[in-house]
Each structure stands twice: as structure tokens, then as C-alpha cells.
Amino acid sequence: MDQIPILSLITYAPLIGALILFLWPGATGRAVRWIALLGTGVSFVLSLAMLAAFDRSAPGMQFTEFIDWLPGLGIAYRLGVDGISAPLVVLTTLLSLISVVASWDPIQRRVREYYISLLLLETGMLGVFVSLDLFLFYIFWEVMLIPMALIIGIWGSENRVYAAVKFFLYTLAGSLLMLVGIVAVYQAYFEQTGVRTLNVLELAQGTYGQAFQMWAFAAFFLAFAIKIPMWPFHTWLPDAHVEAPTAGSVILAGILLKMGGYGFLRFNLPLFPDATRAWAPFIIVLSLIAIIYGALVALVQPDLKKLVAYSSVSHMGFVTLGIFALNAQGLYGAMIVMISHGLVTGALFLLVGILYERAHTRQISAFGGLHRSMPVAAAFWGLFAFASLGLPGLSGFVGEFLAILGGFRVYRWAGVIAMFVVILAAWYMLWVLQRIVMMRAPGEPPDPDDPELRLATAHAVPPAAGGAGPHEHAVDPRTFPDVNWKELLTLAPLAVLTVWIGVYPGYLMRILRPAIEQVLTGFGRIGF
């Protein structure tokens, strides 16, 4: 081997951590956490090195690794990254690292098992992003499923088992369809060329019949649509998000959802260009429904995590809209939305987790006035809420605008409807911001210098308190301590990246460019 197998190193560094934990049953919680941190940290550092060494001008796969596995079946251990997967790999390693830190204190039960799951999960996710062999991809896809279900089902909150089972079955149903699709493509390629291979790049060279493409596309599409998730396959998401522990939600929202979008870009588009064109209008309609629907439903959620979950549905609608707009803006937009959503929603879940640690509830009505008791947290809330609602200058805007623009270029109405969400997003996000960060804690009397109080005494109107009704919860938001340094450590990098991508998306887009141009070339749209 003439070069370092860096992708394998990145992928298996967490696995090695998991193995160490597995073989060291007597490890104390402290040791377990440090090992997990080391595993994810090594992976993260390596992925940064990978990104630094990434040739931003070269199209095609880089850092490829190839080991023949089952040559008779055309199965090989093929790894590689291009502009699409490289940022996602870094996002994965970063969010995993953050998840490890974010779980430091909250997870006190079955720590070793938890971190083993987390590390396994990371390996699975990284494997999904780096594998170029459909067989390998499928293995990683399934590998990732189990630890995630365990994380939800064991370390989640009240209704966790239901959520875990739902998550598992939904995703499994999708991935089975994908398996059918994989076999179909494999067979079709074999019949066409007489070569047995599962190499994605090679399969993409084949030309398949229109009818076959339609069905195979649908098989892949359903798997990814469930993962991403698209309306109406989204109902696992709110449950899974709500019940998962903080780190689980972060990874779920930050990375797992991206696999759907990644799958579209890596498999559906290159393999089935004709079917993509045929299905695109239909998918764009679904995307629009998801965008508006997610935002509207988010508007009336009483539960913070559910709200963020539905907002994810809405955001992921932008991803599919952008991808199936099939033009440069759309694809850039989709990719940036994915990365930005990973950062922003991840951070929002961290923030919810921080609140949950203190209040042991996620009901919005239980909070209020956190700006006073937790000013730093409030600042982060503000930042990420605005990033989520697509404020220019933060990462969300770049992606969303490009995705909408992409959609608008194809179908005017699609752009208009999608744009409508800028209002709805502002509505629900600011509503949350107002209810938990601003105003007063539930039941807290108005400040003495508040003009409302004077108004009340003058007109004998009862002062409108910050929240509804008297104390419903034993824990008073006024007593919450502000974020500690570990929590700050998890949030700060996300904030920096959010601003950076918002202000200077060029860096990211230059990484994406060759890959996106390649995808577009498959559609005969050079230069778009």
C-alpha cells in the first residue's frame, strides 16, 4: 500500500475505541469517557487532516482504498471520498466528538455500553459516507442502525422503547427496499455487461432501461426518503428525537438524516438519471409539502424537541428540493443545508439537552426568562435559532436560499412555496425564543420597573405573566445555572462553524464543486 489508508483509519478509530471498551469490562466511567473521547478525537483529527490534504480541484474519488474481498461476486472493500462525502465525514467526526463531550455528565447509567454504542454508531456512519461498494455501504448502513436504536431505546426518556422500535422498523423497511434495489442494479449491470460488480462508480457507467430505472429508483428512493425523512415518511423522526438522549438527538439530526440526502446524491442521481428526471416533479411536490408541513406543525408543538424535530422535517425538505431541482444552485444548496442543519440542529438539540438537564422537562411552557439566569445559553439559543430560521450571514441562509433558487429555476411555484417558509420558520423559532429565552419564568411577577405593572395598577388589569398559570413545575427556571465549560465546549465550535459557513461559504463550496459538477455532468448540464 503506497499511501496511508486514512479513510480506514478514520472509520475504524472509533471502532478500536469500542473494542477496547468492550474488552475492558472493569473500566470506570471516567476511563470509559476518556477512551471514547480519544477514539472520536483521533477520528476527528484524522478527518481534518484528510480535509486538509483533499485536492479541491480534482473531480472523482480521493484517498481511495481497494482490497478485493469476494471477487467472484464483484464485492470489494472500496473506500473513497469526493467533494460530497468529505465534508460529511468531517461533520460526522465533529458531531461525534461533540456527542461524546455532551454525554459526559448526563449519561450516568451503563456508561460503558453507551459509549460502545456511540463509537460503533460513528464507525457505521463514517463507513456509510466513505464506502464505494454497495455491499459495504449496505453493511455500514445496517451497522449504524442498531447502536442508534439502542441509544434511543436504553438511554432515552419515557416512551423510548416505542420510539426505538419505530425508528428501527421504519429504517429497516427502507433499507430492505434498498437491498432489493441493490440486487436489481447488480443483476441489471451484470446482464448488460457480463461483469459482476458492486462498485458504485462502475455501476453508474451502466445504462439501464427506463422502466427498470423507475422501479430501482423507487426502491432506493424509499430507503433514503425514510432516512432523510420526507413527508409522509417522517413520523418516526419526532418520536425518535424526543425520546433519544441529547447526544442521540444530535447525531440523529446531525448525521443520520444526512444519509438520506447523501444517498440521493451518491446513488439515485448517478445510477438512474432518466428516472430522476421523471420522478423529480413528484419529489419536489413532496419536498414542498414537507417544507410547509414541517414548519406549520412545528408551530404548535408544546415540546421543544418535537419542535426542533419538525423543523428538521422542514429543513430536509430543502435538501430534497435542492437535489431534485437538478441544477448547480440546488445541489450546492442541498449540500450546504445538510451541513448547516447538522451544525445548527445539532446545537439546538444540545441546548434542549442543557435545559432538560436542569429542568427535567422539555415543555416550552415550563421555561421563560432564561436570558437572565443563563445569558450565555440564551446567546447560543439566539444564534442557533436565527441560523435555523435562515438568517443571512449564518449557515442556514446560504443553503436554503440556494436550494430555493434551484427550485425556483425549475418550477417558479416551487420556489414561491418554499420561500413561504421564511415566514413560518421565523414564526415558530421566534415563538420558542420568546417563550423560553425572553419574558419571565412561569408564575414570576413582573419587574417593579416594568411599565406593564404600572398599567396594571392603573387599570386594574391583572399583569400578564410570562407563562400561563401558576407554578406547574417544581424546578424554577430562575435558579438554573448557566452553561458550564463542557457545554460551552460543545456549543462553541458549532457556533463558529455556523458563522463561518454563513459568512464564507466559498471554502465549503470549492470542496463541493468538482463533485457537484460531476453529478450535473451526468445530467448533461455542464456549467450550470
Binding site: L23, L70, G72, R110, R112, E113
Partner: protein, 240 residues
């Protein structure tokens, strides 16, 4: 009539007669002996079919191991436990014979009307001879095209070994597992998990070395471990 055909009829006739003996014999040991006879004849037919390796494998695995094991078990299981052949259930026997006859008729029809023929393979007798013989040919094929199945089979055999250990001495396995669980098992969802406070579920273990009392006068006294008989350690055994 060629001599091969004659030999074939001889071998096949004995094989079928022995197979019938398996079903008809009252004494299970006789069944087993019949089966061995049948297998040996079938192995000879394999040789006629240019499958020397399989013939030998048949003898080693089937007769040399499997049927020996059956005999073993037959002798370990108490004779009283063996049910009578003529113990009623006439309906099922009738149905069984009828189904057998029906299937025979169908298969005979299928064989006689057989028309499906695949493309002939490349392993002509000359080709087999060129690589050194049947066993070399099988080896080449097996370890190139059938790599995955052979690995899967290996895994299956490993699983079967473990399963057999468990089935044979459940109480021993439980003890071992309890240790292993404390040490190695990652019990993620299981309530018992690594929690040392919870005792490992216990199966009723033989109290006084007597595995079996009920069902007759022939209590078979076995030692659960070598130490029950002597104080000396067994070969290769590590004393805890």
C-alpha cells in the same frame, strides 16, 4: 447389459433395501446399522459417478461420525424412553405412506419427462485429470468460487459446536456463561446485564451427581467433572 449397470443395480438395490430397513426395523440399533449399509453403498455409487472425494467424505462424516453419534445417543438414552413402533397412530401412518406414494409417482413422472438441461460444465474427466484428480478439482472450485459459502459453513459449524456444548451440558455452560458475562458480555438491553447485584438465572443443576432418577431403575451415574472421581487434574485442565 454393461457391467457398470449391473454393479449399479446391485449397489442401488442394497442401498434401497437397507434404507427400507431403517424405516422398518423395530430396534433402532438395527435401523442405524441398516443406514450405515445404505450409506456405504451410496458411497460406492459416488465412486461410480467420479466423485471419489465425496465418497470418502460420505464414509468419514456420515458413517464414521454421524451414525456413530446416533448410536452413542441411542445407547445413552434409556431404552424405556424409546417408543414402540407399533404404537398406534394408524391414520398418520396411512397418510405418510400415501404421501410417499404420491411423491414417488410425481417424482417418477418428473424424472421421466425431464427436459431441463443446463449447459454442460467445463470439468470433463480429462479436465479433472489435468489438475490432478477429483479432489484437486473440487479444491480449486471450492476455494475460488465458493469462498463465501465455505466461510459461512465454517461459521455454521462453529455455531453448531457451541450449540452442542450448550445442549449437552447446560449447567456447565451456564456457569461458564456467568463468568463470561461478568467479564466480556456487553449486555445492552438485557435487564441482568453486567449488574453484579442481580444473580445469574439458575437452572436446576443435579444435586448429587445423579443426572437421572426418574423413569426406571437404571440410574446412570455420571461425573460432572473429573474431580468428582479423583483429585487429580485432567489433562490440559486448568485448576481454578
Amino acid at each position: 447389459m454393461a457391467i457398470e449397470v449391473l454393479i449399479f443395480y446391485l449397489l442401488a438395490g442394497v442401498a434401497i433395501a437397507a434404507a427400507a430397513g431403517v424405516v422398518l426395523a423395530r430396534n433402532p440399533v438395527h435401523s442405524a446399522v441398516s443406514l450405515v449399509l445404505s450409506f456405504v453403498n451410496v458411497a460406492a455409487i459416488y465412486v461410480m459417478l467420479r466423485a471419489e472425494f465425496l465418497a470418502v467424505a460420505q464414509i468419514i462424516v456420515y458413517t464414521g461420525a454421524i451414525i456413530v453419534l446416533v448410536l452413542f445417543v441411542l445407547m445413552l438414552v434409556q431404552q424405556q424412553d424409546l417408543p414402540e413402533f407399533h404404537g398406534g397412530r394408524p391414520l398418520r401412518r396411512a397418510v405418510g405412506f400415501l404421501l410417499g406414494l404420491a411423491l414417488l409417482a410425481e417424482v417418477a413422472a418428473a424424472i421421466l419427462t425431464r427436459s431441463l438441461r443446463g449447459a454442460p460444465g467445463s470439468w470433463t474427466p480429462e479436465a479433472v485429470a489435468a489438475v490432478g484428480g477429483n479432489i484437486q478439482a473440487i479444491g480449486r472450485e471450492l476455494y475460488s468460487v465458493y469462498m463465501l459459502p465455505i466461510q459461512a459453513t465454517a461459521l455454521l459449524l462453529l455455531a453448531a459446536t457451541i450449540g452442542a456444548l450448550f445442549l449437552a451440558r447446560p449447567e456447565l455452560i451456564e456457569e461458564r456463561l456467568a463468568i463470561a458475562r461478568r467479564l466480556f458480555t456487553i449486555s445492552l438491553a438485557h435487564p441482568r446485564g453486567v449488574d453484579p447485584l442481580q444473580p445469574v438465572a439458575e437452572l436446576p443443576a443435579p444435586q448429587d451427581g445423579q443426572l437421572k432418577l426418574a423413569g426406571g431403575d437404571r440410574a446412570l451415574v455420571m461425573a460432572r467433572s473429573a474431580e468428582e472421581f479423583t483429585e487429580q487434574p485432567a489433562w490440559g485442565e486448568i485448576r481454578r
